[in-house]
């Protein structure tokens, strides 16, 4: 299935953007070098190799972020490990290995925030759209949309009433399906591409009640904690922790996932 829709995506992309060619040999070489360094225990060099793919070649992949996270984990730089695991998850939500390591890394940091449980229907919805990545859902939406239009065509130009009926109901059904899949596609897109989450990098930061240095400190956050960004004023961002606390901190204290 993935192969098929990847092919579809490739076809779609080829039709529109030029130069989206497959990754080049130097990138593959860097990736292998990184893994070899990691195996030898030279986590620093491994991290440098993986970072080079990001910085110099401007390419990303869930596997790359995962390996980079592992390097930082081994160097006990847990905030960076968490950041990279989270970035990996953004590209391939629900990857078991990434979730496992992220869970381990989260146990190493100071703040052990207990998340407010999500409502069950939101959990189901998320479980559904996490089954495939955003590209798959987008393509599926288009396919269903095309089917809807085709069935509409059958309805309009059908020569017999049975054909018209089939076209009409088929088109309605297909339209509803495509609306549903579009919702999943949108949610998946937001989860993958919306940069509204961040990891705290400052060792210990006092979260303020207002975007000023002089306002009251509400609570403390420590390096490695994940926050949701909901607003920004100048250099300040409004954040929300998983347990529902809100406040303002400097953008420089966090790294956006």
């Amino acid at each position: 299935m993935t192969a098929i829709y990847r092919i579809i995506i490739v076809v779609f992309w080829l039709g529109l953007s030029i130069g989206q060619n497959a990754f080049s040999a130097p990138v593959e070489k860097l990736f292998d070098q990184g893994n070899q360094s990691f195996l030898k225990g030279d986590y620093k060099n491994a991290a440098l190799n993986f970072e080079e793919i990001l910085q110099e070649h401007h390419l990303k992949s869930p596997e790359l972020y995962f390996n980079l996270g592992n390097c930082y984990f081994k160097m006990t730089d847990y905030p960076n490990a968490i950041l990279n695991y989270e970035r990996s998850l953004k590209l391939s939500s629900g990857d078991e290995d990434v979730l496992f390591n992220l869970n381990l890394a989260n146990k190493k940091i100071e703040d052990q925030i207990v998340a407010i449980p999500e409502l069950f229907y939101y959990r189901w919805f998320r479980g559904l759209y996490s089954m495939f990545d955003a590209g798959f859902w987008a393509v599926l939406t288009l396919i269903l949309w095309s089917i809807t239009v085709a069935l509409g065509f059958v309805f309009v130009l059908g020569s017999t009433s049975t054909l018209k009926k089939a076209g009409f109901y088929g088109a309605i059904f297909s339209l509803l399906m495509s609306i549903g899949v579009f919702a999943l596609s949108w949610a998946s897109h937001r989860a993958s591409y919306l940069q509204n989450e961040a990891i705290v990098f400052a060792g210990s930061v006092s979260v303020k009640s207002a975007p000023t240095e002089t306002s009251t400190g509400l609570f403390l956050l420590h390096a490695g904690s994940k926050v949701k960004i909901s607003d920004q004023i100048d250099t300040w961002v409004k954040i929300r922790t998983a347990d529902g606390n809100e406040g303002w901190i400097l953008l420089s204290d966090v790294e956006v996932i």
Binding site: R6, I9, F12, W13, G15, L16, S17, Q20, F23, V27, E28, F31, N35, F38, I53, L54, H58, L59, K60, S61, E63, L64, F66, N67, N70, F73, K74, L91, D97, F100, N101, L104, A105, A134, G135, W137, A138, V139, T141, L142, W145, S146, T148, V149, A150, G152, F153, V156, L157, S185, W186, H189, S192, Y193
Partner: protein
């Protein structure tokens, strides 16, 4: 003088009258007006008549040992009856200073009488008289009172240095030279840092003579305790405080005293032992076995099993018994290892240890309940018990013999791999991150924004719509063209027919019979086909008749048409039998123009 005599006699008379009327006196006294803190004294209130409802004074500043007690005495002297009711307390003051005791009240025949108030001077606890000489030995300590070391308490400890967990006995002894001594109060010390067990004193503990520093004393043990140190370092053996009532002979004060053999005075004497300490040594770390469970002393070790032959699933008891001398009550269960096929439960612990001045001795037994899960022969043990011997100053390990257990298979026993006991899942030893991915499925540009809402997405979303509209338009065009052609055909049917007739007319002039009829026939069929929009192949005479009737063509015209058609067909098969071409041409024109008029 006379006057004075008179006065005296009057007074005497008056007083005798008063006495006759029984003058009532209610007064309070204390046995001592100067006491030290904690020293006992007596407070008494006397009234020389019978009375009721005694209300004592406020004694909140004192410790009340007894009281109010009451005594009532009646004397008959010289024909005179004297009664005396006394209420008394035994008290001791709590704080030094001047204390006044308020008035007590009593009810006599409906009248309430008040006693006098009393003043008391309380000095500090340790009277100078009680601070005698201090004697300190290695293992004994005593504090004596001022009466020339006549009464003191000593604490004896069996050893001044002990290992952690090694039992030590402490004995408190009273040394006395007074003829009569009574305890009035003993404060039991509390031992910190020790596990303690009281040792029973001899019930009929008579005094034993003992010589200290050349002076003979009568000694009496008042407390014996077994101490097991629980902490290392210098641990204090606390002092024991006791007060005694001592009867002392006092110099005769009157002739009667001398006759009666002198008088005595009871005094309270407070004594305390001086504090001692024990140096508690930690158990040596070097060579400390891992299976050491806290036993310090001399022990023996015995292991027995309730049975050696049983069925799988049946329970049996393994008994580990430790016997000997030492801190036997404080020994933890020894660690035991049994094959995994045998289910092991926590042990039941029983101890039977006695304490005596020689220390603690007895036994402690651990009963382990075990259930073999599978048949077979098992060897359990050898079991080991490790303790510390403070005399040898080293750890000792005793091993028992191994026990051989023959377990019969139970009826419904399943193969080992299917037993629930072995299905415990993976045992996690440590947690580490999952290893790197070795293959990248696909890279995407770092600034990739996703396919949804991208240009391509919208293009691909619009494409089907555009295709739909395009197809719709094409279809419409096609339809239009078809519709126009039919209309044109109907409209131009007559025109085409006329063209055909014109050709037929030319053929008639040139005398080409066959071609003429052919042309007339075609002109008529073509015209009818176009007119009624029916393919020429489908034109039969029936269809034509039906269509003409639908068009309400009059029968004369129909007949003419069929006549012409008949003539044309006949001319094609038998050219000689047909009438003149001119007439056919004429009729044909007439039919077409007739139909065209409609």
């Amino acid at each position: 003088m006379k006057k004075l005599h008179l006065y005296i006699s009057f007074l005497a008379l008056f007083s005798s009258l008063l006495l006759g009327a029984q003058e009532i006196k209610f007064s309070g006294t204390v046995s001592k007006t100067k006491v030290s803190v904690g020293e006992r004294f007596q407070l008494s209130y006397s009234i020389n008549t019978n009375a009721s409802t005694f209300n004592g004074p406020d004694l909140s500043a004192f410790d009340v040992y007894t009281g109010p007690n009451q005594t009532f005495t009646t004397n008959y002297v010289n024909g005179q009856l004297t009664q005396s009711l006394t209420y008394y307390y035994h008290l001791s003051a709590r704080k030094p200073g001047k204390i006044s005791i308020g008035a007590a009240r009593i009810n006599v025949g409906g009248r309430t009488l008040q006693s006098n108030t009393l003043e008391l001077e309380v000095s500090n606890a340790s009277q100078p008289a009680n601070q005698g000489q201090h004697k300190q030995g290695n293992t004994t300590g005593a504090a004596s009172n001022g009466q020339g070391n006549n009464l003191f308490i000593r604490a004896h400890i069996s050893k001044s240095t002990a290992f952690l967990g090694e039992p030590v006995t402490v004995i408190y002894k009273v040394y006395n030279r007074y003829p009569m001594v009574n305890f009035s109060d003993v404060k039991i010390p509390s031992f910190n840092g020790f596990y303690t067990e009281e040792i029973a004193l001899d019930k009929n503990g008579k005094g034993v003579s003992e010589t200290v520093g050349g002076i003979q004393y009568t000694t009496l043990e008042i407390k014996r305790t077994l101490l097991i140190p629980q902490k290392t370092g210098k641990l204090e053996i606390p002092t024991l405080d006791a007060s005694f009532i001592v009867r002392e002979r006092v110099a005769p004060q009157s002739i009667f005293d001398q006759i009666l053999g002198g008088s005595y005075r009871d005094t309270e004497v407070k004594v305390k032992s001086i504090p001692l300490s024990i140096e508690v040594l930690p158990l040596p770390l070097a060579g400390k076995p891992t299976d050491f469970t806290g036993g310090v002393g001399q022990f023996s070790f015995d292991v027995s099993s309730s049975t050696t032959k049983l069925k799988a699933g049946d329970a049996f008891n393994l008994n580990l018994k430790i016997q000997g001398k030492g801190n036997i009550k404080l020994i933890d269960p020894p660690k035991i290892n049994v094959p995994s096929e045998i289910e092991l439960y926590d042990p039941q612990i029983k101890d039977a240890a006695q304490v005596s001045s020689g220390g603690m001795s007895g036994s402690k037994s651990f009963d382990y309940l075990m259930i073999p899960q599978a048949g077979g022969t098992y060897e359990i043990g050898p079991f080991q018990f490790t303790y510390f011997d403070p005399q040898k100053k080293s750890y000792q390990t005793i091993s028992s013999a191994a026990i051989r257990l023959e377990v019969e298979k139970s009826a419904g026993e399943q193969p080992a791999s299917n037993r629930s006991g072995s299905a415990t899942g993976t045992k996690v030893i440590a947690s580490d991150i999952r290893y790197n991915k070795t293959l990248v499925k696909a890279y995407t540009p770092l600034n990739e924004q996703g396919f949804l809402f991208s240009m391509g997405y919208f293009v691909w979303a619009l494409l089907p719509l555009l295709a739909f509209i395009g197809l719709l338009l094409y279809k419409r065009y096609q339809q239009n063209r078809f519709a126009n052609r039919s209309l044109y055909k109907t409209r131009d049917a007559g025109h085409l027919a006329r063209k055909r007739l014109q050709r037929a007319h030319e053929l008639k002039s040139s005398g080409n019979n066959d071609a003429f009829y052919e042309e007339i026939f075609k002109a008529l069929y073509g015209y009818l086909g176009d007119k009624f929009q029916i393919a020429v192949a489908n034109l039969s005479r029936d269809v034509i008749r039906q269509k003409l009737t639908e068009h309400q063509t009059d029968t004369e015209l129909q007949n003419k048409l069929f006549k012409v058609l008949d003539t044309c067909e006949m001319a094609r098969y038998a050219p000689s039998a047909v009438q003149g071409m001119h007439e056919v041409y004429h009729d044909t024109t007439e039919v077409i123009t007739g139909l065209e008029k409609r």
